[in-house]
Structures are given as C-alpha cells and as structure tokens.
C-alpha cells in the first residue's frame, strides 16, 4: 500500500496551508446552520406538550453534549496516531481538541443544569449521564493541566497522549459502571431522563444544530491547529515564510 499520501497529509506545512484554506468552508456554513437551527428551534418549533417552551434548551444542550464526547474521541485518536507514528501534526490536533471539548463539556453541564431546575426541581442529581459528563470534564481538565505543566512541547505531546489513550478506555467503563451503580440504588423517578417523543418540526432544527455545531467544531479545530503547528514547527524554515508574509 502506498502511504505517501498519509505522510504528505501529515506534513506540517501542507496541513497548515490546508487548514487555512478550509477554515472558511466550515466557519460560514456553521454560522448559517446555527442561525437557522436557532430560529427553527426557538420560533418555529411548537412547544412540547409536557415541558412547554422549556424543552427548547435541547437545541443547545444536546449538540453541546454531543460535541463534548466527539471532541474527546477525536483527541484520543489523534493522540494515538501521534504516539505510534511520531507525527507532530497529530499531536497538534490532539492539543487543539482539548480546550474546545472542555468548553463544550461546560456548556453541556451548564445548559443541562439550567434545564434540570424546571424539569426536576434541582440543578444537579447524581444521574449516570450527568455523572459521566462530570467525570469527562475532570478528564479534560487533567489533560489540559498535564499538558500545560510540561514546558517542552514534544514531551508535553507524548505524555498527554498516554493520558488521552488511557482516558478513552475509561470513558465507556465509567458510563457503564455509573449506570450499573445507579440501577442498584433506586433513583427517584423524577430524575429519569424522559426521552421526549419528538416530532419532525421539533427534530429538524435539532438536526440542523447538530450539523452546525459539528462544523463549528471543525472550524475551531482548524484555527487552533494552525497555532499548534506553528508552535511545534517554529524552528522550520517554512514558518518564517508563513509568518512574515
């Protein structure tokens, strides 16, 4: 098999240029889709028969939660590629995923809590999904903390890659164990996630939001990726050309 494409793709100058060219192609559609989704969600979609207008939080909550998990998976995959093939660009991608993922974890937790107050009567409960999300936030913080504590970028890359990989093994284990833990102790029934029976006018804006958030993530990732590549490649000649032009 011919692997040259892989190495060319991973070559920092190539990736840097690619990221720069691709960014608008993700950023603008993301802005557009999020605007449409928001209008659809807040204005067009009918109120939920049970939750009234409160359910509209779903249009920011669910996509944020989804992003928080997706970013972690991407981060771990990129870290593994970086560790195995010693590919700087992959480490740079992993490093870029972390802050974005952490922020959207905060968004998911925050919107979930704001939703929980009217629905359950409390901001927080030790529900499996909530707990797993909280643990995910701790994992992100650990990753970011570890990375920022090591000055040398190469060392930081490889050390945090080990953590990202160990952590990705852990996420499903946490989910599964928390679920089991909670099913043993009977949780109060108000705190169950009622999966809203959802109709098309409600669902369409949600799907648009999902796509919009994903595109937004990619756009943010591409911008951060460029910065991270520059940091790692600051000794290379091409960087001089790129930043002085």
């Amino acid at each position: 098999m011919d692997w040259t494409w892989f190495h060319r793709f991973g070559s920092p100058p190539h990736l840097y240029g690619l990221a720069r060219r691709l960014t608008p192609w993700f950023a603008w559609p993301a802005a557009l889709l999020i605007a449409i989704g928001l209008y659809g969600g807040l204005v067009l979609a009918p109120p939920d028969y049970q939750q009234g207008d409160g359910f509209r939080i779903i249009y920011v909550h669910a996509p944020s939660a989804w992003l928080s998990l997706m970013a972690y998976t991407w981060m771990a995959v990129a870290a593994a590629i970086g560790l195995v093939w010693r590919m700087k660009a992959a480490h740079a991608a992993a490093a870029s995923c972390a802050p974005i993922g952490a922020w959207f974890t905060v968004a998911a937790l925050g919107t979930g809590m704001l939703w929980g107050k009217p629905m359950w009567g409390t901001y927080w409960a030790w529900d499996p999904r909530l707990t797993a999300e909280l643990v995910l936030l701790f994992l992100y913080l650990g990753y970011i903390g570890l990375r920022s504590a090591i000055e040398d970028p190469q060392r930081a890359d490889r050390t945090s890659a080990v953590l990202a990989i160990v952590g990705v093994v852990n996420v499903p284990i946490v989910r599964y164990s928390v679920e089991w833990w909670n099913s043993i102790h009977q949780a109060p029934s108000v705190m169950k996630f009622g999966k809203p029976s959802i109709s098309w006018p409600m669902l369409t804006p949600l799907l648009i939001m999902f796509i919009g958030f994903t595109l937004l993530f990619v756009a943010l990732l591409l911008v951060r990726l460029r910065g991270e590549i520059l940091r790692r490649e600051r000794r290379a000649q091409w960087v001089a050309e790129v930043v002085t032009e």
Binding site: D53, G54, I57, W115, V223, R224, G227, E228, L230, R234
Partner: protein, 53 residues
C-alpha cells in the same frame, strides 16, 4: 413579542442556557484566533532573535 421572550414561563432557564452556550461559542472563537495570533507572534519574535547576531 413579549410572549416570545417569556418562553411560556421558562424564560429563566431558556435564555440563560442560550446565553451560556453562545457565550462559550463566542469565547471559543476569540480564544482560537488568539492562540493562533500568539503562535504567530512567538514565531516572529523568534525569527527576529535569529537574525540578530
């Protein structure tokens, strides 16, 4: 219009949730651009350091 802002009595939850999410999105956009700008500035500083004897 005021009915829209009232959100059927859920204004206290819906609008803060929206504000939080879009605040975080806005911050992420700013932070991403700043991180790129900082990396470029560092690279430029470095180049001017190399040029000096």
């Amino acid at each position: 219009m005021s009915g829209f802002f009232a959100m059927g009595g859920y204004a206290g939850s819906v609008w803060p949730a929206m504000a939080l999410t879009f605040g975080i999105i806005a911050w992420n956009v700013v932070a991403a651009r700043r991180s790129l700008a900082a990396a470029r500035a560092a690279a430029r500083r470095r180049i001017s350091m190399e040029d000096a004897p």
